[in-house]
Amino acid sequence: MKAYPTFTEVSSCEITKAQFLEDLFETWAEALPYGQIFVADARAFSRQWNQDLQKTLNTKTALLNDEIRELRARDKAKDYFIAEVSHEMRNLLFSIFGRLEFVEEPNLTESQRKDISLVQSRAKYFLELLTDILNYQKLILGGVVLEPGEFETAEFLKEVCEAMTPQAQERDNELECNVGRTVGVLYQDPARLRQVLVNLLSNACKFTDHGTVTLTADSELDMAGQKSIRFEIADTGRGIEPEELDKLFVRFKKLSERQGNQSGTGLGLVISKELVGLMGGTISCISEFGKGSKFTVLIPARLPQAELVQPVAVDPIAPVIAHQHPTVLVIDDDPAICELMERFLGSKGYNVISAGDGDQGVALARERQPAVITLDVILPGGKTGWDVLGQLKADARTEEIPAVIIALPRDRRYGYDFGANNNQ
């Protein structure tokens, strides 16, 4: 007598997903002899299944296409709505600002004057908010395309500082601008860079009284000889509390609120971060509460061409092409280790690139095809070095690349399972 597979056996097969079993019950319900699935003709069965699958697939594709059309229409309607609303808001603000202009100063009482000035500052805040929301919306939808051009950095920064001087003086701050001699010419989007620097300078001026705000620019070369510009915006203001530092670049976090600051939308730094990312750079902040803050923007002196085509890609490591020197990819979250590797391997004629976490490492390995990969076991985020190794070995694009695990002794034995080369 023929042995039929039991229900449990069938369900352990690879093709038996929940949906499949459901279909099966419907089609072959009568052929189910008490808990067993009766499969009479495997080929006919699979043909039938394929046909059903194709039918389901066609229906679902059609449904999806309908949904996509619907979503596109809704998206367009939303854009239109936002344009309409903001148009109206801007026109209303025009009336408010315009009419405030007509109020004659000499005829006002002290308290009226105060009211007028408050209305003015609230209207300005409203406008700022509106502008930031529109900017942010455009940014997250990927609608911002950089318009790079060549410009003299020193001259550009001088203009930015001149424009910011009145704001610095509002709170009796000195605004200083120091530009290193090697900075030279930039190939970036000047309008976007200005937006970022103005945002940072404006924040610095807002949170500093009778102090100094300094804008410094200097150039530096990375290991591959790629030139980057480091902009530092430092102030002697109130600084940021350590627990608030982490939230700085997070959406809609307004640190200043608690400290009684009424202006600023909380979106400025988020927008700056997105823009700097588009420019292929990074933004960071260090601060000592009560003493001041320093924001650092590091961007490549020349915008990589790839960024123009695909403005969403935010790759902190500028692509380098090295023909003669073999590339080593260092995946390690410890900057000290990365630096050590760079120094050591760099002196041996290797071109070193590094990644701070697993995902970035895997992406870099695929893109850059390094000659060797070194891998730390403990990495930030959800993935360990072993996971990353597994991922590299499972991908045809990276499985051939020799990997060196930098591991603690007790982790060693796993390495060989994943095909890591003799670890050190």
Binding site: I82, S86, H87, N91, F94, S95, F97, G98, L134
Partner: protein, 134 residues
């Protein structure tokens, strides 16, 4: 003292502009849609036009994001109005690159709504009137 045509479909905006210009010793004429703007500009030959980019096309037609652009093109194409300087007024609209389109159509400046700095705006107006590029 100059004569300025304000083309804008919002009555309050026209009013604010006209009071401002009066305070700066200019006189104003006003149009509330694109068709009227062209007619008035041709009839009155003002020294300057403050042109809203988005208006009703005519008294019976709907609002159009490119109405101002059409007015500018039309005026620049006619010999009698081609030399009148135009300052375009824009606010957020869905037309891509509206600013550069307005400039290519011959506007001397594009001012974004709302105006918050009237000293700066006055400078732009005076420069446009004096025939210099603001």
């Amino acid at each position: 003292m100059a004569r300025i045509l304000i083309a804008n479909d919002d009555r309050d905006i026209r009013d604010v502009f006209s009071r401002k210009f009066n305070a700066w010793n200019h006189t104003v004429v006003m149009a509330s849609n694109a068709a009227d703007a062209v007619t008035l500009a041709s009839a009155e030959i003002p020294d300057l036009i403050i042109l809203d980019s988005r208006m009703n096309l005519s008294a019976n037609e709907d609002v159009d994001d490119r109405a101002g652009l059409q007015v500018a093109k039309c005026l620049k194409a006619r010999a009698e109005t081609s030399s009148i300087p135009i300052i375009a007024i824009t606010s957020y609209v869905l037309v891509e690159d509206l600013c550069s389109l307005m400039v290519s159509a011959g506007c001397v400046a594009v001012v974004e709504m709302p105006i918050t700095d009237y000293q700066e705006f006055r400078k732009i107006v005076e420069e446009a009137l004096s025939g210099r590029q603001p």
